[in-house]
Structure formats: structure tokens, C-alpha cells
């Protein structure tokens, strides 16, 4: 029963965030455009040799996701702060972790949509050939995005309430994402190539473990972070 | 051309000492400032009482 109430809180917060974003599309449009712009710039910097671009595609797409994702995470708390809505949100009854879960879900939907756009553009611009194991590749992408969103949402809950939130979030977040970045790009490259060594599976397990570990850790730590 | 091994060893030890002593210097300077500030603040509190 209590579990169902918690789930309703999570859904309510996520729905509220998504609705806010849908009403004012400026936030989504600008972050997605930034992602695409970064891809174009990387293409210009690394091209025009088609093979070189194809080799760099995975790294380029991930960097574009990281840099545009950072903006999205800060937004999700900034909107609350600007309207003075975070304090009342904390006053509502029910466990605090539901706030984090709701924000997480909202950011996951928001970023999922953005990833779809950026990855599609990346595949076209960098002339990536879709391999036979594309469902696994999508799985790698999903696991990587979950890791990005979990830590991004967690650090944004602090960075967005500090001075200098624009620099602080990437400064805190990017070093933490090193294992996810290495695992996701290496696994994707293996899947796009021949993967003769069957490397991809080990990397996918690492990525999944990373997600689970930090999902638990951030949920536990959030109680301390959100306290007024 | 790579400099001789002795150069690298000397550079390593010199760097270590420079870094450690610079940090000692920084600590001492910071301590001086913090102590002065503390004396000023506590003095003012004594005075106002």
C-alpha cells in the first residue's frame, strides 16, 4: 500500500516535469540543438575522410550526449528553484527518495528523446553502418544513458543550488562518468566492428554493474543532499 | 634526444621539495590570515559585551 503511494508520488513528479517541458519546448529544443551542433562541429574537426569519421562516430556521439545532457540536468532543478517550488516539494509528506526517483524518471524521458535525435543525426552524419547486432547496441546506449542520468540528476541536485552551477556540474559529473564512457564507447565500437574477441559482453556487464551500484548509492545519499 | 637519467632524477627530487615547501608556505600564510581574522572577530565580540 505504502509502496503504491510512493510510486504515485514518483509518477506525479515525473509527469509534472515532463508537462512543464512540453508546455515550454524551448528547453528541449535548445539542448537537442546543442547536441546536434556539437556533432556537426566534431564532424568538421575530424573529417572529411569518411573512414576517419566512421571510426570516430561512437566517441563523437557520446561526447555530444554528455555535453548537451549536462544542460538538461541543471534545468530540471533550476526550474523548481526559480519558481520557489523546491521548498514546498520537500514539505509534502512521504519519503524524500520519491523526489529523486521522480526527477530521475523525468530526466530519463527527456534525455531519452534527445538521445534518439542526436544518435539518429550521428548515424547519418558519420555514415555509420548499422550492424546485425543493433538491438544489443541499443541496449548499450540505454545502459549508458541510465548511468548518465542517474549521476547527472544526483549531482545537479547539488550543483543547481550552488553558485557557479554551470561549471560545477560538469566538473563533478564528468570524472564520475569515466567508466561509463569507456565501457559504452568500447562496447559500441566492438559491436560496430567485427567483435572477434567478444569483448562487448564483458563491457555490457561492467556498464550494468556501474548503473546498479550508483543507482543504489545515489538513492541512499540523496536523503542527505536534499535536506534543507 | 632524451636528457640524461640524472637530470630526470634531479628534477623529480627538486619538484618534490618545491611542491612540499610551497604548500608549507601556503599553510603558514593562510594560518596567519585566519588567526588575525579570528583575533579581530573575537576581540570585537569581547568589546561589544
Amino acid at each position: 500500500m505504502a509502496w503504491r503511494d510512493d510510486w504515485r508520488r514518483v509518477r506525479a513528479i515525473a509527469r509534472k516535469d515532463v508537462t512543464t517541458e512540453l508546455r515550454a519546448k524551448a528547453g528541449f529544443n535548445s539542448t537537442a540543438s546543442l547536441g546536434v551542433t556539437i556533432l556537426i562541429l566534431l564532424g568538421l574537426a575530424l573529417g572529411p575522410d569518411a573512414q576517419a569519421l566512421r571510426d570516430a562516430a561512437v566517441g563523437a556521439v557520446w561526447l555530444a550526449l554528455l555535453f548537451s545532457g549536462v544542460l538538461a540536468f541543471n534545468r530540471s532543478f533550476q526550474v523548481e528553484l526559480e519558481s520557489g517550488a523546491l521548498e514546498p516539494l520537500l514539505l509534502y509528506p512521504g519519503p524524500r527518495w520519491t523526489i529523486f526517483a521522480g526527477k530521475l524518471l523525468g530526466n530519463l524521458l527527456f534525455l531519452g528523446l534527445m538521445v534518439a535525435i542526436v544518435v539518429t543525426v550521428g548515424v547519418v552524419l558519420f555514415s555509420v553502418e548499422i550492424p546485425a547486432r543493433w538491438p544489443t547496441l541499443l541496449g548499450v546506449l540505454a545502459l549508458g544513458v541510465v548511468g548518465l542520468v542517474v549521476l547527472g540528476t544526483f549531482y545537479a541536485s547539488m550543483a543547481s543550488r550552488s553558485r557557479a552551477r554551470e561549471v560545477l556540474l560538469p566538473l563533478l559529473l564528468f570524472p564520475m562518468l569515466v567508466p561509463a564512457l569507456v565501457a559504452a564507447t568500447t562496447a559500441s565500437k566492438a559491436l560496430l566492428g567485427a567483435d572477434l574477441m567478444h569483448d562487448a559482453d564483458a563491457w555490457i556487464r561492467l556498464l550494468a554493474a556501474y548503473d546498479v551500484i550508483f543507482l543504489i548509492a545515489t538513492f541512499l545519499a540523496f536523503e542527505h543532499v536534499i535536506e534543507a | 634526444m632524451i636528457a640524461s637519467n640524472t637530470t630526470f632524477v634531479t628534477a623529480a627530487y627538486a619538484l618534490t621539495w618545491v611542491v612540499l615547501l610551497a604548500y608549507v608556505w601556503r599553510l603558514v600564510a593562510k594560518d596567519g590570515r585566519a588567526s588575525a581574522e579570528y583575533a579581530r572577530v573575537s576581540g570585537r565580540r569581547e568589546g561589544s559585551r
Partner: protein, 237 residues
Amino acid sequence: MNVADWSFDPSRTGRRTGIWLVLAAVVVLMATQTYAITNSPAEGDMGHLQKIMYVHVPAAWMTFLSFFVVLVFSVSYLWRRRETDDLIAASAAEVGAVFNGLTLALGMIWGRPTWGVWWAWDARLTSTLVLFLIFVGYLALRGFVDDAGQRARWSAAVGIIGAINVPIVYMSVMWWRTLHQQPSSPSTLDPAYTLGLRINAIAMLLVLIYFIRKRYEIARLERAVEHAAQSAAMGGR
């Protein structure tokens, strides 16, 4: 917030003992370095370059030790909410960043003549670099948060989550690529070098203790000033 345990009186805590500790640390470090340099034979592959080990390896150990202190006192802060724990963690983080930067620079100075490159993307170099970035993020966060309670809770969270990440970074980069030699620990070393390494590590530990202690005392002074300013702003007591 427990302001109650803030009865800190700098005139009564014997802060000037710091001068003896730093002098002792400097003398001991000079002695152990002289001993190690003069008593180690030239190594087979590396010749006299091996002598960089006596500063590089202890610096690396002190880096990890500092980060361990940050982890322990961050957990302790979230557990017991004692402000002193937060200040110790913060002091250890700053000192750790200094040793971490030194470790990286010394590693490069050693790497250039032995590997022929200043930087290699191997597991331990890269994870030490990531650790440095985590230290930097931790210190930046402390710089950008004004409320003392928030600063303490947030940096404790960042310290703990960062510590969880370090072994994962190490593992991932190790799978990714590796060319570093076996970790230098007394058991894998030729006995001719063991004693030199051990005593240098002890000397470096003295330096570390002095640094953290001194930084902690300064942090306490700064907090006392902050508290005084706060209570003055609230109308004075």
C-alpha cells in the same frame, strides 16, 4: 546544527607545536632520501632512474591514504553530524590533491625516460588522474556553497560517491589498456630497495600528518570566524 561543540580557543590548543612537527618531517625526509639515494645500487633496466621511486611511490600512497581519510570522515560526518569530521575530510582532500598532483608529475618525469612518453593511458596513471579530478570537483563544490551545513553534507556525499568510483575507474581502464609495470610494493621489490622505500614512506607520512593537522587547525579557525560572523549577523549574543 550543533553549534554547541564550537568552544574552540586557539590560544589553548598548543597550535605552535606545528613548527616542531614540520621541522621533524623535513629533517626525517632529508635523511631518508639521502639514505635511499646513496644506498641503492643502479637497477638493471632503469639504472639510476629507479631512485625516482622513493618520492613517486610514497607520494602515491599518501594520495590514496588522504582519499581514504576523506572517505572515512565523510561517512562519519553523515553518520554523526559532527562538524569536526567535515573539516578533517576537507583538510585531507586539499592535502590529497597536492600529493595527487605531485604523484602525477613525478610519474610523468619517470615515464618519459623509461617508456619514452610523458603520458601513457594505462590503468594506474589514468585512474590517478581521475582521482585528481574527483578531488578538484570536491574542493570546487566546497568553494561554491555558502551554507556550512549544506557544504558539509554535499561534500560528504561527493566524497563517498567519488570513492566508490575509484576502483570502478581502475578496473575499466585496466581492461581498456595497460602497460604499467607491476605495482611497486615491498613484496615485489628487490630487497635492496625495500628499506629505502619503507623509510621514505614513513617520512612522507610525517609530512602528510603535519599537512592535514595544520590545514585542519586553519579550517577550525575559519569556521570559528564564520560562526562569529553568523551570530553577529543574527543580532549578536
